[in-house]
């Protein structure tokens, strides 16, 4: 099993810890977390994760703005982004996709299969 390095950006600390547990304990990955879009960009630049799991709705810099910022920057442009969002509206999903999201996963997620779903969405061989 590959020890993937991923970044979780979500303003809800509870969800950060659940997602971290799901990916670390079930997927066996290395997980970084950020509580805001700004912090997420900072960590992404510093840690260069293989993928970024982004919450759609965050105060201040929201998911979409964060994605755009990541696409703006040379250091993070190449990192695939997967949205994990509570909003399942088709229009919203289209916006995420056209902004460059590789996949969109819905909340609530199943922690036992989250790693597998992210890997599948990104085409990672587990």
């Amino acid at each position: 099993m590959n020890r993937h390095r991923v970044l979780i950006v979500d303003d809800e600390s509870d969800i950060r810890s659940i997602a971290r547990l799901a990916l670390e304990r079930v997927g066996g990955w290395q997980v970084f977390t950020a509580a805001s879009g700004l912090e997420g960009v900072e960590i992404a630049v510093r840690e260069q994760p293989e993928a970024i799991l982004l919450d759609g709705a965050m105060p201040g810099m929201d998911g979409l703005a964060t994605l755009r910022e990541l696409r703006e920057r040379e250091e993070t442009r190449h990192i695939p982004v997967v949205f994990i969002t509570a909003s399942v509206q088709a229009a919203q999903q289209r916006v995420f996709r056209s902004a460059g999201a590789r996949a969109i996963l819905a909340k609530p997620f199943d922690p036992m299969t989250l790693a597998a779903e992210v890997a599948a969405a990104l085409g990672w061989k587990e």
Binding site: E12, D14, I15, I18, A19, L21, A22, R25, V26, A57, A86, S87, V88, Q89, A90, K107, P108, F109, D110, P111, M112
Partner: protein, 625 residues
């Protein structure tokens, strides 16, 4: 012999009788002279031999006598005709003509005017000449004949008809037969003696029906103080008075009806006017060219114009000439055109009207055609401000969006935590604790589905979701649904069988899969272990039907129509165990409706069949799946 014939002694008979008597007397006289001449000439008259006398009379004298009698009769008949035609006509003097003229129509017809008509009629009837006249009319309200006018006694007017009427039997007979009666002498009245008449000193009468079209509404009587048989001319005169009376009365009634209708119209107009003035709905009348002909105060207020400013102006270009985004809205594209062209009622709630000061007004408007002789002569445009409703809709959308996020966020934590524990990430739990955690997890999942379903349904209802249609094989979707549901069916010990025929339709594959999965999942929930569920398709000219058939306990007939309603679950189903949200069928119905199809359930005793019927284009392929 009818009563009428009995009551009218024909004058001709009298003449013939008189002539015959005259003839016999003449014959007897001539015969006597003839016999005397024979005797004087020495011949013996045959007087002593009756048989020979009779023979002679019959063979020699009778033909001559008959010819003579016939000549006399013809002369008498001619005399009678001359008397009738010439003398009778001369007798219809200027007085009668003047009397008829008096039964003229008065300009101002009221209840009094009607009485006036009747008074003139009875007056005219005395010009026969007669000694008195009466009109008896049927009073439908009272259900009896009333003496409506009389020259005999003014006090009797309006009273029960028999007071001065010759005879109830006569009136009834005349009205029933619509024919006149002449009684020359009340002593020989075929309807029996009439004390009322004789008390008033009348000895003869004639009655003619007053006709309203084919219906007799009463009788006009001419009364005589001496036995008198009214002649044909008199009767014709009486009939003419009756006819004019009827015309006058009918015209009076017509005018009275017209006045009443006018009054009602005025009242209605007044009421409509006050409704139009007081309603908050804008109401405008448009002519055939779409110009304002009428504007109610609410319409003027909502549009910011005065009523006078709008009248005569073209409605579309004045208040509807731009689209919501301000771009020009050609009159040719205006949905109101449909109303003018086809007479169809048009309702729109997605367009704006423009206020005089240039701001758009959110309205729901409708156009209803006004027809004149089958063609559209104009339209009524009504509209109301729906800014508030639109605001509420926006708030609702916002709420749904916020609620979905706010509900899902805590659910994600709960479901995630329970999922990790139940998944054994932190080691094995004691059996009871494990069971509890699994229960909590199951319910968290259910709550998640409920939130999803609710939002789904809401979005579909508000038309926010569009179908992503593509050409797909319905058999393939059914196969997928079976694959998805196989684990659940296996766990329940239920078999799944596919009897699908390939058919490519323009479908939203995800939505259709959701629907079929839903139906199969329901079928599994209500199937006994060992049962079989069949998914079968059927093809007709215009549609494809997919049925999910189970062998469960069936659905009570009274619930068949309700199960597609939100939160309706068949009673006694343990919903917490089945894990249903109560929205599955409601969502399925919405999805099928979006595809232009129908969904329904059938159940007869054992087992239920849920069927989806989807319209299909004429040319689609077939073949075994």
């Amino acid at each position: 012999m009818s009563r009428r014939q009995a009551s009218r002694p024909p004058p001709l008979r009298q003449y013939l009788l008189a002539n015959a008597i005259l003839g016999v007397i003449a014959y007897v006289a001539i015969r006597a002279i003839y016999d005397a001449e024979l005797e004087r000439a020495g011949r013996i008259p045959l007087r002593d031999d009756p048989l020979e006398w009779l023979m002679e009379t019959v063979t020699i004298h009778l033909p001559g006598l008959l010819v003579w009698l016939a000549a006399l009769g013809t002369a008498a008949w001619s005399l009678h005709r001359i008397q009738n035609n010439v003398a009778g006509r001369l007798a219809l003097d200027a007085g009668r003509q003047a009397a008829l003229a008096r039964v003229a129509l008065t300009a101002d017809l009221t209840d009094d005017a009607q009485r006036d008509i009747l008074d003139r009629s009875v007056e005219a009837a005395t010009g026969l000449p007669a000694d008195g006249a009466s009109i008896v009319l049927w009073d439908a309200r009272r259900g009896e004949f009333l003496l409506s006018a009389s020259t005999v006694t003014a006090q009797a007017r309006g009273g029960p008809a028999h007071r001065a009427r010759p005879d109830d039997g006569a009136t009834r007979w005349i009205v029933d037969h619509r024919e006149p009666i002449v009684v020359a002498d009340v002593a020989r009245d075929p309807f029996g003696p009439n004390a009322m008449l004789t008390d008033d000193g009348f000895r003869a009468y004639a009655g003619v029906p007053v006709l309203f079209g084919d219906e007799a509404i009463g009788v006009l009587y001419a009364l005589h103080r001496r036995p008198t048989a009214i002649d044909e001319q008199g009767l014709a005169f009486l009939r003419e008075i009756a006819r004019r009376t009827a015309v006058a009365i009918s015209r009076d009634r017509l005018l009275a009806d017209l006045r009443a209708a006018n009054r009602q119209l005025e009242e209605l107009g007044g009421r409509l006017g006050s409704i139009l003035r007081s309603t908050s709905e804008g109401v405008c009348g448009l002519d055939h060219a779409g110009r304002f002909t009428f504007v109610n105060p609410a319409a003027a207020r909502l549009l910011g114009f005065s009523e006078q400013e709008l009248i005569g102006r073209h409605a579309h270009s004045t208040v509807h000439g731009r689209r919501r985004d301000g771009s020009p809205y050609p009159a040719a594209d205006c949905p109101m055109r449909t109303t003018f062209e086809t007479g169809e009622h048009v309702v729109r709630d997605d367009e704006v009207l423009w206020h005089k000061d240039g701001r758009p007004i959110e309205v729901e408007w409708s156009a209803t055609a006004i027809f004149d002789a089958g063609a559209v002569a104009g339209a009524v445009l009504s509209f109301r401000d729906i800014a508030e409703r639109k605001a509420v809709e926006r708030m609702k959308d916002e709420f749904v969006s916020v609620a979905s996020h706010e509900l899902r966020t805590p659910l994600t934590s709960i479901r995630g935590a329970l999922g990790l524990i139940a998944g054994g990430v932190f080691g094995t739990l004691p059996a009871e604790a494990d069971e509890l955690v699994r229960t909590a997890l199951r319910n968290a999942e259910r709550l998640g589905r409920l939130v999803n379903d609710l939002l789904d349904l809401d979005r579909m209802r508000s038309g926010a979701t569009e179908l992503q249609r593509q050409e797909v094989d319905i058999a393939g979707i059914a196969r997928q649904a079976v694959e998805v549901m196989r684990p659940m069916a296996d766990a329940a010990g239920v078999g799944l069988e596919l009897e699908m025929t390939s058919c490519v339709l323009p479908l939203d594959a995800d939505r259709m899969l959701q629907t079929l999965t839903n139906l199969v999942s329901n079928a599994i929930k209500f199937s006994p272990a060992g049962g079989t569920i069949t998914i079968r398709s059927e093809r007709s000219e215009s549609e494809v039907r997919v049925s999910v058939i189970d062998q469960g306990r069936g659905i009570p007939a009274e619930q068949l129509g309700l199960i597609f309603e939100r939160f309706h679950q068949v009673r006694a189903a343990d919903s917490s165990r089945s894990g249903g949200t109560g929205l599955g069928l409601a969502i399925s119905r919405e999805i099928v409706a979006q595809h232009g199809g129908r969904i329904w359930a059938e159940s007869e005793g054992r087992g239920s069949t849920f069927t989806i019927a989807l319209p299909c284009p004429a040319a689609t392929n077939g073949g075994a799946a």
